[in-house]
């Protein structure tokens, strides 16, 4: 069964600079107000329909990300946010880089940008439902 509306979102920062994290957080503020779409930020991936990942996945984080992905409810949808999550961004050849995210877990929607604007993040999350 696939849902059409009101996804619950869990969020994981896999080692980014905070920029993307802040823009995800900004989505919840009164201006962007994701509650309009019934989107709610949930603590545990077990309760979430969509997992939002930002940041390069560093070596220490890799197993955590897999662990969180396993807990995610079926059907699993992952939205990768920001240049870091998509390709490694400026940290591409860093010694700590174990990603990008789609090398580790399947990704449904990519949202490019450094950091992407809240509008595109919301669009990405809604796109993942289709």
């Amino acid at each position: 069964m696939s849902i059409k509306k009101s996804p619950w979102v869990s969020f994981f920062n896999a080692g980014g600079c905070n920029g993307c994290t802040l823009e995800v957080l900004a989505c919840t503020n009164p201006r962007y107000d994701v509650s309009r779409f019934g989107i709610e930020i949930k603590a545990s991936a077990k309760h979430a329909d969509v997992l939002v990942v930002t940041g390069i996945v560093n070596k220490q984080n890799k197993s955590r990300l897999l662990n969180i992905y396993e807990q995610l409810a079926e059907p699993k949808r992952v939205v990768a946010i920001g240049a870091c999550a998509l390709t490694g961004g400026i940290y591409k050849d860093s010694h700590a880089h174990a990603g990008p995210v789609d090398k580790i877990i399947p990704v449904t929607v990519f949202v490019p940008g450094c950091p992407p604007r809240p509008e595109s993040i919301i669009k990405g999350i809604l796109e993942a439902l289709k």
């Binding site: 823009e23 400026i90 940290y91």
Partner: protein
């Protein structure tokens, strides 16, 4: 004799916007010991900054932290412009300060919002986030970017803030001031906030001195170590600035110090906008190339002193060392939560305002063998 039991928080946790693994050893509900397990946000910032031309390194330096991007730029430029003896025009100096102070406002508002969220006051969280969004609009207007401002180059700025831009900044600050005054009043008088913050996470002045704490955390213990006051740089030389200090040293004092700093920063932006000389700062190309030299420099980030060491050899950066404020304050975290009730831990940790992403450093041990570096080798950045 009770045994302690381990209470893990993180690395993925809704109240931590960054990955941090907090291990609390608790007896009943009292925290006996705490370990902060790091490395989840490490991405080799300093490594990334090596072997680059200074202007390219600037791009990477900004991406050290999404909250205080401009402060890293300022510290880096202060260092480089210091040893390369590059003079900057007054207009550039003030433009940089305007962005930096707006950044302090946005960082403190974000912090205040998250702190209120930790205290269970989600309405205030939303209020603070609403006001913060307006500051991001100003960034958008001034620099074209919301988060990583990228507005500066060595010796100059990328764009001239027009008269309308500055007016927009001033009117936005005006429009949020009244709200912020009333939020501050609420924070100061709200029973829940007072109950949960006063006397919690107490740091004595002596401890703060011994551990070398920086920023609002130290200023809440009546230690003035504001870089903007002690060694003014760039536009701060032209502005009048009061340090906000308190004596209590607890979570409540830290909250009020930050909120008062917001008003002080607004004041600085106003001063800077009024003093800014007319004219254009469009860079003359080529921007000065920096071939050799090394130096240190510091800037006051929202969380405290941000210290950079930069060494340039043959036009490329050979070593960049960043000492971010959270790195200086982190040593106090386990001490501050020891003996506290477990329900107070989120409030105490949040009141110290951790910013993990820019702080993560690791020593890579490739083959499990340890290596000894002499201070001379470390300074040169290479092993013989």
């Amino acid at each position: 004799m009770h045994k302690t039991c381990l209470f893990p928080i993180g690395p993925q946790h809704p109240s931590l916007k960054e990955p941090l693994f907090l291990k609390l050893y608790v007896d009943g509900t009292t925290v006996k010991d705490a370990v902060f397990d790091l490395g989840y946000a490490h991405r080799g910032v300093e490594e990334k900054l090596e072997g680059k031309q200074v202007d390219t390194a600037l791009h990477a330096v900004q991406r050290t932290c999404g909250i205080c991007s401009q402060c890293h730029t300022m510290a880096f430029l202060r260092t480089v412009e210091g040893f390369a003896e590059v003079e900057i025009p007054d207009r550039v100096a003030l433009q940089r300060v305007i962005v930096a102070e707006l950044e302090r406002i946005h960082s403190h508002l974000l912090w205040a919002g998250v702190m209120m969220h930790e205290l269970g006051l989600d309405t205030l969280f939303m209020y603070f986030m609403r006001e913060r969004e307006k500051i991001l609009d100003v960034f958008d207007e001034l620099t074209g970017n919301r988060v990583h401002h990228s507005s500066d180059l060595v010796g100059t700025s990328k764009r001239t803030f027009s008269e309308e831009n500055l007016q927009f900044a001033l009117s936005t600050l005006d429009s949020i001031k009244e709200n912020l005054i009333s939020y501050r009043k609420t924070v100061d008088s709200h029973d829940v906030i007072r109950d949960r913050c006063i006397g919690k996470g107490l740091i004595t002045k002596k401890d703060a001195k011994t551990f070398g704490l920086v920023g609002p955390v130290a200023r809440a213990c009546n230690i003035n170590n504001d870089v903007r006051v002690n060694s003014p740089y760039m536009g701060y030389k032209m502005l009048k600035l009061n340090s906000i200090m308190r004596t209590e040293g607890d979570a409540h004092a830290r909250t009020l110090v930050r909120l008062d700093e917001v008003f002080e920063s607004m004041n600085l932006v106003e001063q800077a906008c009024n003093q800014i000389p007319k004219g254009s700062v469009v860079p003359k190309y080529p921007v000065k190339r920096i071939a050799q030299g090394y130096g240190v420099g510091a800037s006051e980030a929202p969380r405290g002193e941000n210290f950079h060491f930069v060494k340039v050899v043959n036009g490329k950066t050979a070593r960049v060392k960043l000492r971010t404020p959270t790195l200086a304050n982190l040593i106090m975290f386990p001490e501050a939560v020891k003996g506290a009730d477990i329900t107070d831990v989120p409030v105490i940790v949040m009141s110290l305002d951790p910013c993990i992403s820019c702080m993560e450093r690791v020593a890579v041990v490739k083959d499990g063998k340890s290596e000894v570096w002499t201070s001379h080798e470390l300074f040169k950045g290479e092993k013989k």
